[in-house]
């Protein structure tokens, strides 16, 4: 039997190891920065450290996402006890300069220095992403040094009921899109009677342009595992599945490695931390279907069946995986748990709004000065996110609308800048929070064209089970194509609206029910653009 990890011991050792270095140079090695050349940059930094003979003074740490992806690759140089400096667009030459000129020569590299007092950084409140960009995700010691797995220790001394009560007091709601109260789901699985219960982590993030869950899984895999263990302990599950889309190979690799390490340290597996609680965790990968993010389709996929949803009720907490009670939580929801347990529900309630407490991670993209991954308290206004954090539209363009919630969401016009971004407010504005995609669009964009883009996605990703979604999305896409090409008629528009209602109200699962949202919301807020296209007039100001 493997030896149980001594968290205090590991944390102390890790702190000592860190304090031996005068400098820690953190290189963002997340997928986005890697794509813009973080690999060669890191090798240049390492090479230069070696060349200068600074191996014992400077530690190079590959980390997860630092957030401002649009300025990547990012590097952060942290002197022991001093003020850290962040660098942007680090190519191999700049990487070498950081070591030779900044670390050794104490020079400023002004054109590559990034001001960390930008609202992009200061307006964020990082909980789920608190370790992303700060620790090496491949080392459990790094996570433990940041109080990792402490919540699990605390929880194992509590009754499962007490743990559910804590989550209930925190007001945590599911981060996958619908905002269902997490504690309610937990209580249902806890109360279900069965010889076998399952917990499933939903990491099948499929919205185009969304990468919140990827960051959590890649950059802080142990946080996800700790969250899964907490959920399983609270609900009485002895087996957990992590459902991760196959398009996230790095997340899968990191999670696999984290599971192995955690098992070795008795943080997962049999008799966790010498308690009576055992949990077996297994990864299942999706095969590339958006619909598999829907919980019943996800379960079918884990079982090896065709990834198609089925009718609810019965809900998975009654009859789920292999017919046993099952609870599905989004990865981001799970990643909130360790901090809630460790810092208490009141602390969590101190962030966000009364009905939507806590923070939300957004993949901020589109026509913005600063884009990337952000975590902000719920209830920040749309304007604050787009104009302050995102820095507004570049090239003198005017902010026109924000798209939230991906293909299941809608477009909120710029006149809603004071709209607080939380579950209810967005729904009232005709969109949804969704999993956290947030795309800013400027005045060059044609809104019917945006609707057409998302409808193209939905008609391709429909599973084909129910007629309104299978055929309706296809027909809606056809109509939108015609309207966008200036060949639409009043009759087409009327039919489009009728289809919007029928597909939304009669489809089987959430995919079909929400697929018309991009059309409905653009029709609500930008109807004049549709009618302009019917008159064959141009829409959206062309790029100059």
């Amino acid at each position: 039997m493997a030896k149980v990890i001594d968290l205090d011991d590991v944390a102390v050792q890790e702190a000592e190891a860190r304090s031996r270095y005068r400098w820690r140079v953190k290189v963002c090695s997340s997928t986005a920065c890697d794509a813009s050349g973080a690999g060669p940059a890191r090798r240049a930094v390492e090479h230069s450290v070696e060349e200068q003979g600074l191996e014992h003074d400077v530690q190079v740490v590959p980390t997860g996402c630092m957030g401002l992806c649009s300025a990547g690759p990012l590097v952060r140089a942290e002197p022991r006890g001093g003020q850290a400096t962040m660098f942007q667009q680090v190519d191999p030459q700049v990487g070498a300069d950081i070591v030779e000129r900044h670390v050794v020569g104490r020079e400023d590299l002004s054109q590559h220095q990034l001001d960390e007092n930008l609202p992009f950084f200061t307006r964020q409140e990082r909980v789920v992403l608190s370790n992303a960009g700060r620790i090496d995700p491949e080392r459990i010691e790094d996570y433990v040094a940041e109080d990792g797995y402490r919540a699990l220790v605390t929880a194992l001394r509590m009754r499962p009921r007490g743990l559910i009560e804590t989550i209930e007091a925190s007001g945590l709601r599911g981060r996958g899109g619908a905002g269902y109260p997490t504690a309610k789901k937990w209580a249902m699985l806890h109360d279900a009677e069965s010889d076998q219960k399952y917990v499933v982590a939903n990491g099948d993030e499929g919205d185009p342009g969304a990468f919140m869950d990827r960051a959590v899984m890649e950059d802080d895999p142990h946080r996800v595992l700790e969250g899964v263990a907490l959920a399983a302990y609270a609900t009485g599950a002895s087996k957990a599945f992590l459902y991760v889309r196959a398009e996230y190979p790095r997340a899968i690799k990191r999670l696999e490695q984290a599971i192995r390490t955690a098992k070795r340290q008795r943080l997962l597996g049999k008799n966790i931390l010498e308690s009576d609680f055992s949990l077996d965790v297994e990864i299942r990968t999706g095969a590339g279907a958006f619909v598999c993010g829907e919980e019943t389709a996800l379960l079918a996929s884990i079982e090896g069946q065709r990834g198609q949803p089925r009718m609810r009720p019965p809900y998975p907490t009654e009859r789920g995986l292999y017919g046993k009670p099952t609870m599905i939580n989004n990865v981001e929801t799970l990643a909130n748990l360790p901090d809630i347990i460790r810092r208490g529900p009141e602390w969590f309630r101190g962030m966000g709004t009364r009905v939507s407490p806590g923070t939300k991670v957004f993949a901020l993209a589109g026509s913005l000065q600063h884009s990337g991954l952000i975590e902000v308290p719920m209830g920040l206004t749309l304007g604050e996110i787009i104009e302050e954090i995102g820095g507004g539209c570049p090239n003198g363009r005017t902010f026109k609308a924000a798209q939230t919630g991906g293909p299941s969401g809608g477009c909120v016009p710029a006149s809603f800048r004071d709209l607080p971004v939380d579950f209810e407010s967005l729904r009232q504005a005709g969109s949804i929070m969704g999993s956290g995609g947030l795309i800013a669009m400027d005045d060059s964009v044609s809104m019917p064209e945006v609707a057409r883009f998302y409808m193209d996605f939905s008609q391709d990703e429909s599973c084909g089970k129910c007629a309104p979604c299978r055929v309706g999305t296809l027909e809606m896409h056809r109509l939108l194509e015609r309207i966008c090409a200036g060949a639409g008629t009043e009759r087409d528009l009327a039919l489009l609206e009728q289809l919007t209602r029928t597909v939304r109200e009669t489809s089987l699962c959430g995919l079909g029910q929400s697929a018309p949202n991009p059309v409905a919301s653009t029709l609500e807020h930008f109807r004049d653009e549709y009618t302009a296209l019917l008159r064959n007039e141009p829409v959206g100001v062309a790029h100059g």
């Binding site: 279907a289 008609q459 990703e461 599973c463 007629a467 055929v471 027909e475 009728q498 029928t502 009669t506």
Partner: protein, 247 residues
């Protein structure tokens, strides 16, 4: 759980109070009481699919429309099946189904005895508003006894469920996704070469359209027998073919 002798769950459908068994769905209790709810994929004797969405009904206090075929009854449940909105939804859904395939009654073996055609009449579909898709689909006439014409297939999966659940062969299934979904025999080979097919013909009996038909039938000659499956399954459940002594 055995059924009680008499239905004992009061349900109100379109203002009529009817009594349901505890294991009834809205569709089954409506059917027994002569209340017609249009439906296509639902088939007595096999599992619920909920794919055609024609049987959607309004259940009081539920914020979404529910398919009658898959909604369990509850005491004093109030159901509306014929509102203007529901009729509009059903009509448009049927139009979509008609637009998706190549449904040409005039040359179809099931003309005059087709559930899809009957539904069109019932729902008042006299023309189709969405664009016809005119898909290119190839007829499979490789089976010695039957033909499969995917142009007439509405993907209701009655055949899939019947073959899997009643015959136990699972010859049929759906491949592809979205509007690229199509019916396959075994691993996608011609039906006549599918080794798991027992030639039993139950799939043909339950097909609501002319997609699955007996060979040798000319236009309008095909007669399906969708009640066959319910007859078989209830006979099995009741043990009708077994010697009472050995039961």
């Amino acid at each position: 759980m055995a059924r009680p002798k008499r239905p004992n769950v009061p349900v109100v459908i379109d203002g009529h109070e009817v009594m349901a068994y505890p294991d009834d769905t809205v569709l089954s209790v409506a059917k027994r009481n002569g209340i017609r709810i249009p439906h296509l994929c639902a088939l007595d004797g096999v599992s619920v699919y909920g794919g055609c969405r024609l049987c959607v009904v309004d259940v009081a206090e539920r914020h979404k429309l529910m398919p009658a075929c898959g909604t369990a009854v509850a005491e004093d449940m109030e159901v509306h099946t014929q509102s203007r909105t529901l009729q509009e939804h059903r009509k448009l859904i049927l139009e979509m189904i008609l637009a998706e395939g190549n449904h040409v009654c005039a040359v179809c073996v099931s003309n005059g005895a087709c559930e899809l055609q009957d539904l069109a009449v019932e729902l008042g579909v006299d023309h189709v508003r969405p664009d016809y898709q005119f898909p290119r689909r190839t007829v499979d006439a490789s089976h010695p006894k039957y033909t499969f014409d995917p142009n007439r297939c509405v993907l209701c999966t009655r055949c899939v469920r019947t073959c899997s659940e009643v015959e136990g062969a699972h010859v049929w299934d759906v491949a592809g996704r979205a509007n690229g979904s199509y019916l396959i025999a075994d691993l996608g080979q011609p039906w006549g070469e599918a080794p798991s097919c027992t030639w039993c013909g139950k799939c043909v009996a339950v097909c609501p359209t002319g997609a699955l038909a007996w060979k040798g039938k000319a236009v309008g000659e095909m007669r399906h027998d969708p009640n066959l499956v319910a007859f078989l399954t209830s006979a099995r459940d009741e043990g009708e073919w077994l010697d009472r002594e050995t039961m």
